[in-house]
Subunit: 477 residues, 2 copies
């Protein structure tokens, strides 16, 4: 019992210190381990298996829209990075530089890719000649490096895993359509698979990607009321293609510049899963993304017939991702571990259950216990997983909606930020000066100008001039 308590006690409670709770969970659920390189984490099997499921789901969704995968070099020559002015200004201060190869100093420094726009542009300039070569719909799964000063597992690390899609189109319309299409792929994935509802919208000029015409974003609200930018999709127009000379001959045999997009989602989204769904016992994973959906825990496993029954049960549940915990730990310890790791369902089976031809299903999120006949267990487990998935989405949506506030004056805005962590909806004139003033006064940044606009007032919450848009604001990770 002392040992069983230890595992749970090892986590700080969310109310006490949310940041510490987060750090405790990623460590105790064995998602990551710190490495000896500052700001670089080791993703352990429990964490990487979540990423593998994310990759499988997203990759399928990408390919269904015609996207193909490629692999680009991890190095970018300094001269290539410098070809697009805004882009180099945005990224050069935070890259890692390779200056020596083997025993020789390099003639030109290479940066470790922080993102691969410049490499894709260079590639596209070589392979695109005619309108017949368009569109190009390429994506890559890789790791990138950004030399961050402060880092946190998944949320902000020097190296992280992601996918980056890069497309080239004949027309501006097609590029804009693709930018929005991929944002929708992300939002649908987060909602349906990760049970995280997203606000879809456009970033302000200040917050957009270095070199983009427009950046679209999906924004989620964490349990502590902070926002997390969860995926972005950029429309570059023809800015990069002019800088890199990516031209094609159209059907009238005229030279035209291509229009480009890029879009990315990273291991950061694992941070969102943790901070939206977790509780004081650890992780809670949505069934569709959980590497293990059902953990069968035999009770009195040394009694005759128990292990056999547990293994039979596993067989019956083989259409799900199911495991049996047959280790020599106590059932209480096993429960704690299953809860810490966020495995959606545990199924307990002991001598009394076997006698009664039943087992006990326990939901991780609600801890509801469901006693069910062994004859119906496969159906019931399936139903419970589906129910848990939709309940988790509903809870997350309720949490977000009940932590979304409206401010029509700066006084209201400041009071809300100080007292009620969450999203603030407020009208905005669109000027960067107001955006900056709001940030300086409250610490809240503009999250996005949502596609679903509301008219809350006529005037900007900050300067009082006529408002151009409603925006979401909040403190963010």
């Amino acid at each position: 019992m002392a040992k069983e308590k230890k595992l749970v006690e090892a986590i700080t409670s969310m109310e006490e210190d949310f940041a510490q709770w987060y750090t405790d969970v990623v460590k105790k659920a064995e998602l990551i381990e710190y490495s000896s390189i500052r700001g670089c984490m080791i993703i352990r099997p429990n964490g990487y298996a979540i990423w593998e499921n994310i990759q499988r789901e997203l990759d399928q969704a990408f390919k269904a829209t015609g996207v193909e995968n490629v692999y680009m070099p991890m190095f970018i020559p300094e001269s290539l990075l410098q070809k697009e002015k805004d882009h180099v200004e945005g990224f050069a201060p935070e890259v890692a530089w390779v200056t020596q190869g083997g025993t020789e100093p390099l003639q030109e420094r290479l940066c470790v890719r922080p993102t691969s726009e410049t490499l894709f542009c260079d590639f596209y300039a070589n392979i695109i000649q005619s309108y017949r070569d368009l569109p190009k719909l390429y994506n890559q799964w890789c790791s990138v490096v950004r030399w961050e000063k402060t880092t946190r597992p998944f949320l902000r690390s020097m190296e992280f895993l992601w996918q980056e899609g890069h497309t080239a189109h004949a027309t501006a319309e097609e590029a804009e359509e693709r930018t929005i299409q991929m944002l929708n792929v992300y939002a649908d994935f987060c909602e349906q698979v990760l049970a995280i509802p997203m606000i879809k919208g456009r970033k302000s000029e200040k917050e957009k990607f270095a070199g983009a015409n427009a950046t679209y974003t999906i924004e989620a609200l964490m349990h502590d009321g902070k926002a997390l930018q969860s995926g972005t999709s950029h429309n570059f127009g023809d800015g990069f293609s002019k800088a890199f000379g990516i031209q094609y001959t159209d059907k009238e045999n005229k030279l035209q510049y291509v229009h480009q997009t890029s879009w990315g989602m990273s291991t950061r989204i694992i941070g969102a899963i943790i901070m939206v769904h977790g509780d004081d016992s650890g992780l809670v994973l949505p069934p569709r993304i959980a590497p293990t959906q059902v953990m069968i825990i035999p009770i009195n496993q040394n009694k005759e017939g128990v292990m056999e029954a547990a293994l039979n049960l596993k067989e019956k549940l083989s259409e799900y991702r199911v495991k049996v915990d047959s280790s020599d730990k106590s059932p209480g310890w096993k429960f704690s571990e299953q809860e810490m790791r966020g495995i959606p369902l545990r199924v307990e089976i002991g001598p009394k259950d076997i006698e009664a031809n039943q087992a006990v299903i326990v939901r991780r999120d609600t801890r509801e216990k469901i006693i069910v006949s062994l004859d119906e267990i496969a159906t019931k487990v399936g139903e419970t997983l589906v129910k848990m998935q939709s309940d988790m989405l509903e809870r997350a949506r309720n949490h977000r909606d009940s932590h979304t506030y409206i401010a029509t004056t700066m006084e209201e805005f400041e009071k809300t930020v100080a007292e009620k962590p969450g999203f603030i909806k407020a009208m905005w004139c669109g000027d960067e000066a107001c955006e900056k003033e709001i940030k300086d006064k409250t610490g809240a940044t503009s999250r996005c100008m949502p596609f679903e606009q509301e008219h809350l007032a006529d005037n900007c919450v900050c300067c009082g001039k006529p408002a151009k848009t409603m925006a979401y604001w909040g403190k963010a990770y």
Copy 2:
């Protein structure tokens, strides 16, 4: 017709210049594109899709043996790389060094991983305490960098993709067993999926991995008679664990060092697929690894009913990886493209075929034409793919066996190397001096001491002293 010819003429014939043929094929089949970074290639969709299939097959095979995936940082601090003496000597001369992060010079240089033994050891030292923590069976899919002077697509590039498995065990026996087990996983995969027969054996002391007790290898023979090391599996014993202090308490509560292994296969194997199976029309992909297994090519596609019939056919063949080439190119051009890309089967369907309720299957490897009723086409395509897969393996095995020679004297050895490209089997005393002399005289290196030994003679082919082993020798990529 001029255009159709162009595609095929673009490849140099194998007989004329095998190296040029190889370069032509990887470019014309659009497997890779050169990048602006010396020695780094861009893997294009046709190439990456092959790698995705390799990953899927291998990953499944690994997981079936209990392996779990993780992700380690891409950087190694110089001090960490230096912890194992032989290892650092082997790798330090060929790594890329990061010396600056953002705007600051680093206090300690970081190398971009050439392989991750040191990172795994550091990790294992942190997470392994007791015998209950063993074995650890971890793998990662990633890219690594080796600062090579001369590079060739897939075969030797500065950056390449691979998987690296790293395991830790309680006993030496268990580590040895895992080393051989993973070598067998590689050999079975190559034989069954890639249709490439492998010689399994042990590397000489000179050729083994930096820091290993023993390196095992699978060696394949390319069409030009050169050998290609296609995968390796290393037994480290407790050398690394002593250098890194990876200890566990055993059941008697005594401190013990773990025993470790590592094993890797890379995008290099795509080079083997090309050089074992390709011909003067381009790639020939074994059906099990081909991203597209069947290309349907409509003949007279603008005639009424033809495109519809092609799409119906696609539906009928949906259990295979099938596409329809409905572009506006001529059928002849489409044939050339399908052949260049190595798509195992093409199915031609035109107005006359539709009238006769038939289609024409053409095998890529033999160019055999099979006229088959549309009612039986799904079955026939399946049978033909299976037959082609096994024929390709048989042809590759026959080629290898008919290009494997025996030498019992140095005169024979030198004459064979000079006149008959292939493997040479010869007895060896085991001394590095003879290995070196053979290399200096003939250019052939010891490929491995095969598990299947034969007694060809009593004495070393080089020095005449009593032989300890039979070895395979050859010129290698």
